[in-house]
Protein backbone atom coordinates (compact mmCIF):
# COMPACT_ATOMS: atom_id res chain seq x y z
CA UNK A 1 0.00 0.00 0.00
CA UNK A 2 2.99 2.27 -0.43
CA UNK A 3 1.30 4.41 -3.03
CA UNK A 4 -1.65 5.32 -0.81
CA UNK A 5 -2.22 7.02 2.52
CA UNK A 6 -5.51 5.30 3.37
CA UNK A 7 -7.01 1.85 3.05
CA UNK A 8 -9.42 1.49 0.08
CA UNK A 9 -12.40 1.12 2.40
CA UNK A 10 -11.54 4.29 4.29
CA UNK A 11 -11.05 6.15 1.05
CA UNK A 12 -14.46 5.10 -0.21
CA UNK A 13 -16.12 6.14 3.03
CA UNK A 14 -14.44 9.54 2.99
CA UNK A 15 -15.42 10.05 -0.63
CA UNK A 16 -19.06 9.22 -0.05
CA UNK A 17 -19.16 11.29 3.13
CA UNK A 18 -17.67 14.22 1.25
CA UNK A 19 -20.33 13.99 -1.45
CA UNK A 20 -23.11 13.79 1.12
CA UNK A 21 -21.74 16.72 3.07
CA UNK A 22 -21.39 18.75 -0.11
CA UNK A 23 -24.98 17.94 -1.00
CA UNK A 24 -26.14 18.99 2.46
CA UNK A 25 -24.08 22.17 2.12
CA UNK A 26 -25.81 23.10 -1.12
CA UNK A 27 -29.20 22.42 0.41
CA UNK A 28 -28.65 24.32 3.63
CA UNK A 29 -26.42 27.04 2.27
CA UNK A 30 -28.49 27.94 -0.74
CA UNK A 31 -32.02 27.15 0.43
CA UNK A 32 -32.48 26.52 4.14
CA UNK A 33 -30.36 29.24 5.68
CA UNK A 34 -31.99 32.67 5.63
CA UNK A 35 -30.52 35.62 3.76
CA UNK A 36 -28.41 37.94 5.86
CA UNK A 37 -30.08 40.97 7.41
CA UNK A 38 -27.49 43.35 6.00
CA UNK A 39 -25.89 41.59 3.02
CA UNK A 40 -28.88 39.71 1.69
CA UNK A 41 -28.30 36.64 -0.44
CA UNK A 42 -24.72 37.63 -1.26
CA UNK A 43 -23.76 36.42 2.19
CA UNK A 44 -24.33 32.83 1.02
CA UNK A 45 -20.91 32.96 -0.62
CA UNK A 46 -19.48 32.90 2.89
CA UNK A 47 -20.44 29.22 3.16
CA UNK A 48 -17.87 28.49 0.45
CA UNK A 49 -15.35 31.28 0.92
CA UNK A 50 -14.64 30.66 4.61
CA UNK A 51 -14.32 26.87 4.31
CA UNK A 52 -12.03 27.35 1.30
CA UNK A 53 -9.81 29.67 3.31
CA UNK A 54 -9.70 27.25 6.25
CA UNK A 55 -8.81 24.44 3.92
CA UNK A 56 -5.94 26.45 2.50
CA UNK A 57 -4.63 26.88 6.08
CA UNK A 58 -5.02 23.16 6.71
CA UNK A 59 -3.37 22.15 3.46
CA UNK A 60 -0.39 24.45 3.96
CA UNK A 61 -0.19 23.36 7.58
CA UNK A 62 0.10 19.76 6.45
CA UNK A 63 2.75 20.83 3.96
CA UNK A 64 4.69 22.57 6.72
CA UNK A 65 4.38 19.55 9.00
CA UNK A 66 5.47 17.18 6.25
CA UNK A 67 8.38 19.46 5.40
CA UNK A 68 9.50 19.66 9.01
CA UNK A 69 9.25 15.90 9.43
CA UNK A 70 11.28 15.43 6.28
CA UNK A 71 14.02 17.81 7.40
CA UNK A 72 14.26 16.25 10.86
CA UNK A 73 16.75 13.39 10.35
CA UNK A 74 15.04 10.94 12.64
CA UNK A 75 11.72 11.15 10.82
CA UNK A 76 13.07 11.68 7.31
CA UNK A 77 11.09 9.71 4.78
CA UNK A 78 9.99 10.18 1.20
CA UNK A 79 6.40 9.84 2.41
CA UNK A 80 6.56 13.21 4.16
CA UNK A 81 7.97 14.91 1.12
CA UNK A 82 5.20 13.51 -1.07
CA UNK A 83 2.53 14.51 1.44
CA UNK A 84 3.98 18.01 1.57
CA UNK A 85 3.99 18.33 -2.20
CA UNK A 86 0.53 16.87 -2.71
CA UNK A 87 -0.99 19.00 0.02
CA UNK A 88 0.60 22.18 -1.31
CA UNK A 89 -1.00 21.78 -4.71
CA UNK A 90 -4.40 21.35 -3.10
CA UNK A 91 -3.68 24.37 -0.92
CA UNK A 92 -2.89 26.53 -3.93
CA UNK A 93 -6.19 25.50 -5.56
CA UNK A 94 -8.11 26.37 -2.39
CA UNK A 95 -6.27 29.67 -1.96
CA UNK A 96 -7.07 30.64 -5.52
CA UNK A 97 -10.68 29.65 -4.91
CA UNK A 98 -10.73 31.74 -1.73
CA UNK A 99 -9.52 34.79 -3.63
CA UNK A 100 -12.01 34.22 -6.42
CA UNK A 101 -14.97 33.72 -4.10
CA UNK A 102 -13.87 36.68 -2.01
CA UNK A 103 -13.87 38.83 -5.10
CA UNK A 104 -17.36 37.64 -6.08
CA UNK A 105 -18.56 38.34 -2.55
CA UNK A 106 -16.85 41.69 -2.32
CA UNK A 107 -18.33 43.10 -5.51
CA UNK A 108 -21.97 43.22 -4.31
CA UNK A 109 -21.13 43.91 -0.67
CA UNK A 110 -18.21 46.36 -0.86
CA UNK A 111 -18.77 47.56 -4.40
CA UNK A 112 -15.29 46.51 -5.55
CA UNK A 113 -13.75 43.36 -7.02
CA UNK A 114 -10.56 43.91 -5.04
CA UNK A 115 -9.22 46.08 -2.22
CA UNK A 116 -5.68 46.62 -1.07
CA UNK A 117 -6.27 45.75 2.55
CA UNK A 118 -4.07 43.57 4.71
CA UNK A 119 -6.19 40.41 4.53
CA UNK A 120 -6.46 40.38 0.76
CA UNK A 121 -2.85 41.36 0.14
CA UNK A 122 -1.40 38.79 2.51
CA UNK A 123 -3.63 36.12 0.99
CA UNK A 124 -2.46 37.05 -2.50
CA UNK A 125 1.15 36.81 -1.29
CA UNK A 126 0.32 33.40 0.19
CA UNK A 127 -0.93 32.27 -3.20
CA UNK A 128 2.28 33.33 -4.92
CA UNK A 129 4.53 31.90 -2.18
CA UNK A 130 3.14 28.44 -2.76
CA UNK A 131 2.94 28.85 -6.51
CA UNK A 132 6.69 29.32 -6.31
CA UNK A 133 6.88 26.20 -4.17
CA UNK A 134 5.05 24.24 -6.87
CA UNK A 135 7.55 25.54 -9.44
CA UNK A 136 10.38 24.37 -7.21
CA UNK A 137 8.84 20.90 -7.03
CA UNK A 138 9.16 20.54 -10.77
CA UNK A 139 12.92 21.02 -10.95
CA UNK A 140 14.93 18.15 -12.41
CA UNK A 141 17.02 17.02 -9.48
CA UNK A 142 17.66 14.03 -7.26
CA UNK A 143 14.61 13.36 -5.11
CA UNK A 144 16.32 14.05 -1.80
CA UNK A 145 17.96 17.23 -3.09
CA UNK A 146 14.64 18.53 -4.32
CA UNK A 147 12.81 17.45 -1.19
CA UNK A 148 15.18 19.33 1.08
CA UNK A 149 14.92 22.53 -0.94
CA UNK A 150 11.15 22.33 -1.12
CA UNK A 151 10.93 21.70 2.60
CA UNK A 152 12.88 24.83 3.41
CA UNK A 153 10.85 26.92 0.97
CA UNK A 154 7.60 25.52 2.43
CA UNK A 155 8.55 26.32 6.02
CA UNK A 156 9.47 29.89 5.12
CA UNK A 157 6.25 30.31 3.13
CA UNK A 158 4.15 29.00 6.02
CA UNK A 159 5.07 32.06 8.08
CA UNK A 160 2.51 33.95 6.01
CA UNK A 161 -0.40 31.78 7.20
CA UNK A 162 -0.67 33.23 10.73
CA UNK A 163 -0.09 36.67 9.22
CA UNK A 164 -3.08 36.16 6.93
CA UNK A 165 -5.23 34.99 9.83
CA UNK A 166 -4.32 37.80 12.22
CA UNK A 167 -4.25 40.52 9.56
CA UNK A 168 -7.81 41.53 10.38
CA UNK A 169 -6.93 42.08 14.05
CA UNK A 170 -3.53 43.69 13.52
CA UNK A 171 -4.61 46.18 10.85
CA UNK A 172 -7.73 48.15 10.03
CA UNK A 173 -9.18 46.21 7.15
CA UNK A 174 -12.15 46.41 4.85
CA UNK A 175 -12.41 42.66 5.34
CA UNK A 176 -14.54 41.70 8.31
CA UNK A 177 -13.24 40.26 11.54
CA UNK A 178 -13.13 36.51 12.03
CA UNK A 179 -16.63 35.15 12.55
CA UNK A 180 -15.66 32.20 14.73
CA UNK A 181 -11.96 32.28 15.56
CA UNK A 182 -11.79 35.90 16.63
CA UNK A 183 -9.68 36.96 19.64
CA UNK A 184 -12.70 36.82 21.96
CA UNK A 185 -13.58 33.35 20.65
CA UNK A 186 -17.15 34.53 20.51
CA UNK A 187 -18.81 33.04 17.47
CA UNK A 188 -20.85 35.71 15.75
CA UNK A 189 -23.07 33.36 13.83
CA UNK A 190 -26.07 31.28 14.87
CA UNK A 191 -28.73 28.88 13.78
CA UNK A 192 -28.96 27.50 10.29
CA UNK A 193 -26.30 29.92 9.11
CA UNK A 194 -23.84 28.45 11.58
CA UNK A 195 -24.94 24.99 10.43
CA UNK A 196 -24.25 25.88 6.82
CA UNK A 197 -20.81 27.21 7.72
CA UNK A 198 -19.83 24.08 9.65
CA UNK A 199 -21.22 21.85 6.90
CA UNK A 200 -18.98 23.73 4.51
CA UNK A 201 -15.93 23.17 6.71
CA UNK A 202 -16.81 19.50 7.12
CA UNK A 203 -17.46 18.91 3.44
CA UNK A 204 -14.28 20.65 2.34
CA UNK A 205 -12.20 18.83 4.92
CA UNK A 206 -13.48 15.44 3.78
CA UNK A 207 -12.88 16.49 0.18
CA UNK A 208 -9.32 17.54 1.10
CA UNK A 209 -8.54 14.15 2.65
CA UNK A 210 -9.94 12.39 -0.39
CA UNK A 211 -8.02 14.58 -2.83
CA UNK A 212 -4.83 14.25 -0.80
CA UNK A 213 -4.89 10.48 -1.01
CA UNK A 214 -5.34 10.55 -4.78
CA UNK A 215 -2.78 13.31 -5.28
CA UNK A 216 -0.31 11.37 -3.11
CA UNK A 217 -0.56 8.42 -5.44
CA UNK A 218 0.15 10.69 -8.38
CA UNK A 219 3.34 11.86 -6.60
CA UNK A 220 4.43 8.24 -6.21
CA UNK A 221 3.75 7.48 -9.88
CA UNK A 222 5.59 10.62 -11.02
CA UNK A 223 8.60 9.75 -8.88
CA UNK A 224 8.68 6.23 -10.33
CA UNK A 225 8.51 7.65 -13.82
CA UNK A 226 11.42 10.02 -13.15
CA UNK A 227 13.51 7.19 -11.77
CA UNK A 228 12.78 5.02 -14.78
CA UNK A 229 13.63 7.82 -17.18
CA UNK A 230 16.89 8.41 -15.36
CA UNK A 231 17.75 4.71 -15.46
CA UNK A 232 16.92 4.58 -19.15
CA UNK A 233 19.19 7.53 -19.82
CA UNK A 234 22.01 5.93 -17.85
CA UNK A 235 21.52 2.58 -19.60
CA UNK A 236 21.70 4.34 -22.94
CA UNK A 237 24.94 5.97 -21.93
CA UNK A 238 26.42 2.72 -20.67
CA UNK A 239 25.75 1.10 -24.02
CA UNK A 240 28.16 3.59 -25.49
CA UNK A 241 25.87 5.62 -27.68
CA UNK A 242 24.87 9.20 -27.14
CA UNK A 243 21.70 9.33 -25.05
CA UNK A 244 18.53 9.24 -27.09
CA UNK A 245 16.67 12.50 -27.44
CA UNK A 246 13.75 11.30 -25.34
CA UNK A 247 15.96 10.15 -22.52
CA UNK A 248 17.82 13.43 -22.41
CA UNK A 249 14.73 15.54 -22.96
CA UNK A 250 12.93 13.72 -20.20
CA UNK A 251 15.36 14.86 -17.56
CA UNK A 252 15.49 18.51 -18.59
Amino acid sequence: MSDRLMAPVARRIVGVAALLALGALVAVGLFVAPPDAVQGDAQRLMYLHVPAAWLAYLAFGVTALGSALYLWPRTRSAVWDRVAGASAEIGVVFTGLTLLLGSLWGRPVWGVWWAWDARLVTTAVLFFLYLGYLALRRIPAALDVRAKRCAIAALIAFVDVPIVHFSVTWWRTLHQQATVFNPELDAKIQGTMALALWLGVLAFTLLYVYLLDHRYRLEVLDEDREERELEAAIADRVQGGTPSREAVGATS
Binding site: F128, I139, P140, I152, A153
Partner: protein, 224 residues
Protein backbone atom coordinates in the same frame (compact mmCIF):
# COMPACT_ATOMS: atom_id res chain seq x y z
CA UNK B 1 39.80 31.14 11.32
CA UNK B 2 36.68 32.28 13.00
CA UNK B 3 33.29 32.95 11.42
CA UNK B 4 33.94 36.58 10.59
CA UNK B 5 37.39 36.03 9.20
CA UNK B 6 36.08 33.29 6.91
CA UNK B 7 33.14 35.47 5.89
CA UNK B 8 35.46 38.35 5.14
CA UNK B 9 37.51 36.03 2.97
CA UNK B 10 34.49 35.00 0.91
CA UNK B 11 33.11 38.54 0.75
CA UNK B 12 36.48 39.81 -0.36
CA UNK B 13 36.59 37.20 -3.11
CA UNK B 14 33.14 38.12 -4.42
CA UNK B 15 33.85 41.85 -4.27
CA UNK B 16 37.21 41.46 -5.98
CA UNK B 17 35.55 39.51 -8.77
CA UNK B 18 32.98 42.27 -9.06
CA UNK B 19 35.65 44.97 -9.07
CA UNK B 20 37.33 43.27 -11.97
CA UNK B 21 34.18 42.38 -13.92
CA UNK B 22 32.40 45.63 -13.15
CA UNK B 23 29.00 44.08 -13.68
CA UNK B 24 27.38 46.41 -11.14
CA UNK B 25 28.72 49.61 -12.60
CA UNK B 26 28.47 48.67 -16.24
CA UNK B 27 25.27 46.68 -16.32
CA UNK B 28 23.15 46.75 -13.19
CA UNK B 29 23.39 50.47 -12.48
CA UNK B 30 22.47 51.44 -16.05
CA UNK B 31 19.63 48.93 -15.77
CA UNK B 32 18.40 50.75 -12.68
CA UNK B 33 18.51 54.13 -14.35
CA UNK B 34 16.75 52.78 -17.41
CA UNK B 35 13.99 51.42 -15.17
CA UNK B 36 13.58 54.87 -13.62
CA UNK B 37 13.30 56.25 -17.12
CA UNK B 38 10.68 53.65 -18.00
CA UNK B 39 8.67 54.64 -14.95
CA UNK B 40 8.76 58.22 -16.18
CA UNK B 41 7.41 57.07 -19.54
CA UNK B 42 4.76 54.92 -17.93
CA UNK B 43 3.55 57.47 -15.39
CA UNK B 44 2.71 61.11 -15.86
CA UNK B 45 5.78 63.24 -15.01
CA UNK B 46 3.84 66.49 -14.94
CA UNK B 47 1.47 65.95 -12.09
CA UNK B 48 3.82 65.11 -9.26
CA UNK B 49 2.96 61.43 -9.56
CA UNK B 50 6.59 60.46 -9.87
CA UNK B 51 7.56 62.52 -6.85
CA UNK B 52 4.80 61.01 -4.71
CA UNK B 53 5.48 57.44 -5.76
CA UNK B 54 9.26 57.77 -5.83
CA UNK B 55 9.90 55.62 -2.73
CA UNK B 56 7.89 52.75 -4.19
CA UNK B 57 9.51 53.08 -7.61
CA UNK B 58 12.94 53.21 -5.98
CA UNK B 59 12.43 50.03 -4.03
CA UNK B 60 10.83 48.12 -6.88
CA UNK B 61 13.90 48.99 -8.93
CA UNK B 62 16.13 47.81 -6.08
CA UNK B 63 14.22 44.51 -5.94
CA UNK B 64 14.74 43.96 -9.65
CA UNK B 65 18.43 44.79 -9.31
CA UNK B 66 18.63 42.39 -6.38
CA UNK B 67 17.38 39.59 -8.63
CA UNK B 68 20.19 40.36 -11.04
CA UNK B 69 22.68 40.57 -8.20
CA UNK B 70 21.63 37.18 -6.82
CA UNK B 71 21.85 35.63 -10.25
CA UNK B 72 25.33 37.10 -10.69
CA UNK B 73 26.43 35.98 -7.23
CA UNK B 74 25.75 32.36 -8.13
CA UNK B 75 26.78 32.48 -11.77
CA UNK B 76 30.19 33.33 -10.40
CA UNK B 77 30.14 30.04 -8.51
CA UNK B 78 28.78 28.04 -11.41
CA UNK B 79 31.73 28.83 -13.67
CA UNK B 80 34.78 26.61 -13.59
CA UNK B 81 33.38 24.39 -10.83
CA UNK B 82 33.90 27.13 -8.29
CA UNK B 83 31.11 25.63 -6.22
CA UNK B 84 33.12 22.44 -5.87
CA UNK B 85 36.03 24.57 -4.77
CA UNK B 86 33.87 26.14 -2.08
CA UNK B 87 32.65 22.76 -0.92
CA UNK B 88 36.14 21.28 -0.78
CA UNK B 89 37.52 24.24 1.11
CA UNK B 90 37.40 24.02 4.87
CA UNK B 91 35.10 26.98 5.07
CA UNK B 92 32.00 26.65 7.21
CA UNK B 93 28.66 26.94 5.41
CA UNK B 94 27.59 29.83 7.63
CA UNK B 95 30.77 31.73 6.80
CA UNK B 96 30.27 31.28 3.08
CA UNK B 97 26.70 32.46 3.46
CA UNK B 98 27.72 35.53 5.45
CA UNK B 99 30.48 36.33 3.02
CA UNK B 100 28.29 36.11 -0.06
CA UNK B 101 25.45 38.00 1.63
CA UNK B 102 27.80 40.75 2.76
CA UNK B 103 29.24 41.09 -0.73
CA UNK B 104 25.75 41.26 -2.24
CA UNK B 105 24.69 43.81 0.39
CA UNK B 106 27.69 46.00 -0.36
CA UNK B 107 26.96 45.83 -4.08
CA UNK B 108 23.30 46.68 -3.48
CA UNK B 109 24.20 49.59 -1.18
CA UNK B 110 26.48 51.06 -3.82
CA UNK B 111 23.69 50.60 -6.37
CA UNK B 112 21.16 52.21 -4.04
CA UNK B 113 23.40 55.20 -3.31
CA UNK B 114 23.72 55.93 -6.99
CA UNK B 115 20.06 55.19 -7.64
CA UNK B 116 19.12 57.65 -4.85
CA UNK B 117 20.96 60.35 -6.74
CA UNK B 118 18.97 59.34 -9.80
CA UNK B 119 15.68 59.50 -7.91
CA UNK B 120 16.47 62.87 -6.31
CA UNK B 121 17.44 64.36 -9.65
CA UNK B 122 14.91 62.72 -11.97
CA UNK B 123 11.87 62.60 -9.68
CA UNK B 124 12.50 65.80 -7.75
CA UNK B 125 12.59 64.12 -4.37
CA UNK B 126 13.64 66.07 -1.28
CA UNK B 127 15.31 63.89 1.34
CA UNK B 128 14.50 65.35 4.74
CA UNK B 129 15.33 63.13 7.73
CA UNK B 130 18.36 61.14 6.68
CA UNK B 131 18.83 58.95 9.76
CA UNK B 132 15.69 56.79 9.57
CA UNK B 133 16.10 56.76 5.78
CA UNK B 134 19.67 55.49 5.97
CA UNK B 135 19.07 52.96 8.74
CA UNK B 136 15.95 51.68 7.05
CA UNK B 137 17.79 51.34 3.77
CA UNK B 138 20.65 49.42 5.38
CA UNK B 139 18.28 47.10 7.24
CA UNK B 140 16.24 46.50 4.08
CA UNK B 141 19.38 45.82 2.07
CA UNK B 142 20.72 43.33 4.59
CA UNK B 143 17.36 41.55 4.51
CA UNK B 144 17.33 41.47 0.72
CA UNK B 145 20.93 40.27 0.50
CA UNK B 146 20.43 37.52 3.08
CA UNK B 147 17.16 36.26 1.58
CA UNK B 148 18.54 36.54 -1.93
CA UNK B 149 21.65 34.54 -1.03
CA UNK B 150 19.51 31.89 0.64
CA UNK B 151 17.22 31.43 -2.33
CA UNK B 152 20.19 31.71 -4.68
CA UNK B 153 21.77 28.62 -3.17
CA UNK B 154 18.40 26.91 -2.97
CA UNK B 155 18.15 27.19 -6.73
CA UNK B 156 21.87 26.65 -7.40
CA UNK B 157 22.76 24.01 -9.94
CA UNK B 158 19.28 24.02 -11.44
CA UNK B 159 18.91 24.82 -15.07
CA UNK B 160 15.85 27.06 -14.67
CA UNK B 161 17.57 29.05 -11.93
CA UNK B 162 17.18 32.52 -13.48
CA UNK B 163 13.41 32.26 -13.74
CA UNK B 164 12.94 30.23 -10.59
CA UNK B 165 14.65 32.60 -8.15
CA UNK B 166 12.36 35.57 -8.90
CA UNK B 167 9.20 33.55 -8.43
CA UNK B 168 10.48 32.19 -5.13
CA UNK B 169 12.17 35.31 -3.80
CA UNK B 170 9.79 38.16 -4.61
CA UNK B 171 6.79 37.05 -2.51
CA UNK B 172 9.10 36.39 0.42
CA UNK B 173 10.65 39.87 0.34
CA UNK B 174 7.31 41.64 -0.08
CA UNK B 175 7.51 42.81 3.58
CA UNK B 176 10.86 44.47 2.80
CA UNK B 177 9.29 46.38 -0.07
CA UNK B 178 6.46 47.45 2.19
CA UNK B 179 8.62 48.48 5.12
CA UNK B 180 11.29 50.23 3.09
CA UNK B 181 8.76 52.21 1.06
CA UNK B 182 6.90 53.32 4.19
CA UNK B 183 10.14 54.24 5.94
CA UNK B 184 11.17 56.33 2.96
CA UNK B 185 7.77 58.01 2.71
CA UNK B 186 7.85 58.93 6.38
CA UNK B 187 11.41 60.22 6.11
CA UNK B 188 10.78 62.30 3.03
CA UNK B 189 7.69 64.34 3.69
CA UNK B 190 5.78 62.65 6.47
CA UNK B 191 6.48 62.51 10.15
CA UNK B 192 10.01 61.07 10.54
CA UNK B 193 8.97 59.37 13.76
CA UNK B 194 6.56 57.21 11.76
CA UNK B 195 9.50 55.62 10.01
CA UNK B 196 10.91 53.87 13.07
CA UNK B 197 8.35 51.04 13.37
CA UNK B 198 9.07 50.20 9.74
CA UNK B 199 12.81 50.32 10.33
CA UNK B 200 12.25 47.91 13.22
CA UNK B 201 10.27 45.57 10.95
CA UNK B 202 13.08 45.68 8.39
CA UNK B 203 15.66 44.95 11.09
CA UNK B 204 13.68 41.95 12.37
CA UNK B 205 13.32 40.61 8.83
CA UNK B 206 17.05 41.01 8.26
CA UNK B 207 18.02 39.24 11.48
CA UNK B 208 15.56 36.44 10.78
CA UNK B 209 16.87 35.70 7.31
CA UNK B 210 20.51 36.05 8.26
CA UNK B 211 19.78 33.40 10.88
CA UNK B 212 17.92 31.09 8.51
CA UNK B 213 20.61 31.55 5.88
CA UNK B 214 23.40 30.70 8.27
CA UNK B 215 21.62 27.49 9.23
CA UNK B 216 20.49 26.34 5.83
CA UNK B 217 23.22 27.50 3.44
CA UNK B 218 25.79 24.84 4.31
CA UNK B 219 23.50 21.83 3.87
CA UNK B 220 22.06 23.30 0.67
CA UNK B 221 25.49 23.99 -0.80
CA UNK B 222 26.63 20.45 -0.06
CA UNK B 223 24.17 18.97 -2.49
CA UNK B 224 23.88 21.57 -5.19
Amino acid sequence: MNLFQEAALVAGKDLRIEARARVISQQILPFGLIVLLLFAFALDPDRGVLQRTAPGLFWVTVLLACLLGVSRSFTVEADNGARDGLRLSDLDGSSIFLGKAIALAVELLVFEALLTVGVVVLFDVHLASLLPLALGTVAATVGLAATGTLYGVLAAGIRARETLVPVLLLPVVAPVLLGATRAWEASIDGVPGDAWPWVALLAIFAVLFVGIGMLAFGPLLEES
